[in-house]
């Protein structure tokens, strides 16, 4: 009893507890959200439920028939992929009118997103949510993906997908955390400022190559800390402030009188 009590108050106990709790939460989260969106054909019930959700959450801006308004585009023909991207990354419903709808915590669960997507897809033909095979990075060629990314994406999203600024408060987001499925949908539908890269421009295989390249970047930089991959600005700041500061400190110490 005494030994157990002593162990319970071991100074590493809080750390171990915290790690355990984090693991449990992570495992639970993975179990709840794991797996790609079910590709099963939507039923009429799904469409009806999606219609309810749409009228409650989206119709204020996109209009009761999803044909758009002065503030928001028409959703007829944007397809399930656009809904899965915009709602699945939390960009929609938009929290405020502004130059850009930022990604934020997702407002709906995966089933509700699928229902919304089914409803919008029923309004007019549009791109569908990709299958797991279409976005499998293991099937892509990262070298070809790099050539395609450099030509088509890097000017906005940075050479390794670190993101970058656009005009008037808009920006291209970093792609470190984006799921392969959402990357695919963004290329296919061209959300917000981003242009469309339809299958006639980048084929399914080429999209998979781009995803493979981006996933390969997530291993990090072989040189260690990449300082946000922002290039000379962050690297220069580090060298000039921290590096030179240390050198000046060392010079002062060498020259100081010893006591």
């Amino acid at each position: 009893m005494k030994a157990r009590a002593a162990r319970r108050y071991h100074r590493f106990a809080p750390v171990a507890l915290l790690l355990g709790a984090l693991l449990a939460v992570g495992a639970g989260y993975a179990a709840l959200t794991g797996g790609p969106a079910a590709a099963a054909a939507p039923t009429a019930d799904d469409i009806a439920a999606g219609s309810q959700l749409f009228r409650a959450n989206c119709a204020t801006c996109h209009g009761p028939s999803a044909s758009g308004s002065r503030n928001a585009p028409s959703l007829i023909g944007v397809g399930a992929a656009a809904v899965d991207f915009q709602v699945g990354t939390g960009r929609m419903p938009m929290h405020a009118n502004g130059p850009q709808a930022p990604a934020k915590p997702v407002q709906f669960d995966q089933q509700q997103i699928s229902q919304l997507a089914a409803y919008v897809a029923s309004l007019g033909a549009g791109p569908a949510v990709p299958t797991a095979e279409q976005v499998d990075a293991a099937l892509g060629n990262p070298a070809n993906g790099m050539a395609l990314f450099r030509t088509n994406c890097a000017m906005c999203h940075n050479a390794v997908g670190g993101g970058g600024a656009l005009s008037q408060g808009k920006y291209a987001p970093a792609l470190w955390q984006t799921t392969p499925s959402h990357i695919f949908e963004a290329m296919l539908t061209g959300p917000q400022s981003m242009p469309v890269f339809s299958n006639a421009n980048l084929s399914d295989q080429e999209k998979r190559d781009v995803i493979a390249y981006l996933v390969a970047q997530r291993e990090g930089s072989p040189g260690g800390a990449d300082l946000g991959s922002l290039g000379p600005v962050s690297e220069g700041l580090w060298v000039w402030v921290v590096g030179l500061g240390l050198l000046i400190g060392a010079a002062v110490w060498v020259g100081a009188k010893s006591s």
Partner: protein
Amino acid sequence: MNAADSSKDLTVRADGGQQPARFENPGVPEHRERLADADPAAAKRAERQVAALFALSTVGTIGFLLAYFLAPPGQSVASIRTSNLLLGLGLTFGLLGIGLGAVHWAKTLMSDHERIEERHPQRSSAADRAGAIAVLKEGAADSGVGVGRRGLLKGALIGAVALLPLSIAVPLIGNIGGDWNTNKFRHTVWRAGRRLARDPSGTAIKASDVTIGSVFHVIPDGLESEAHPLDEKAKAVVLLIRLDPRDLNETPEKKSWSYDGIVAYSKICTHVGCPVALYEQQTHHLLCPCHQSTFDVANGAKVIFGPARRPLPQLPITVDSEGYLVAQSDFHEPIGPSYWERLK
């Protein structure tokens, strides 16, 4: 209060008006003994610290060797990073330990006697200066330059010295290019009927492939068979964009340059030639990443922000019998940054 009064008021003397005629040399500050000079225990402690720093260096070097043999870079990014980190840490401690130890040793244990090194006047003695001048004058008189004799030698020497820099200047200027034909900057490889192809795959683009809001990065079809493909690509790259035809405002003379809302503009910025390719689909703005020049694609790519002075040159396009997009002609003006013979 007049000026004289105020200046008198401002003259404050701490010592009651008694300034010395000449300040005394305060001399060297008093020598303070260091802790390690006075206290043997402190000296011993400093010695141990220095030894510990050198030992740290030894450990760092051994760690470096261990990392070299036990953690090779391998194939994965993670193992390369680990290898770099361990080698770097070993090298850091190996060098830092020696450096810090040496400085600490010198500062605490080595003698700290103050020595004075007097400065000497820099001016040479009068006899040395007079001697030098005499030698120079003798040489000048011997050459006869100053008094009008030996005019031929004088002229020949000046000519030789004046020509010598040519041996540096001519190769320098000659190596700039060898090709002084600026005419090639006025033309690209775009010709009537040449198909637009995707960069980098080189496959031709059909008009039906380009959906509204799409952006294609375009090179001329068959670019690889040009004599200098990269040089030609640098001039000929084009951005192909399809807008909703209702959004597109075209001048009457350029009405025929687009095809059903598809427009093609040179990707080379008219400021200093960066690739302009940040296209915002909703605003139809095209940004240059270098200096933020912004072009409005819906209005003939006119400049709406930034240092560029001219709109991007537009490539007139149409479709051929098979539905592929083709150029109607070359650009109608030189692409890229301004240069002075541009419109001659």
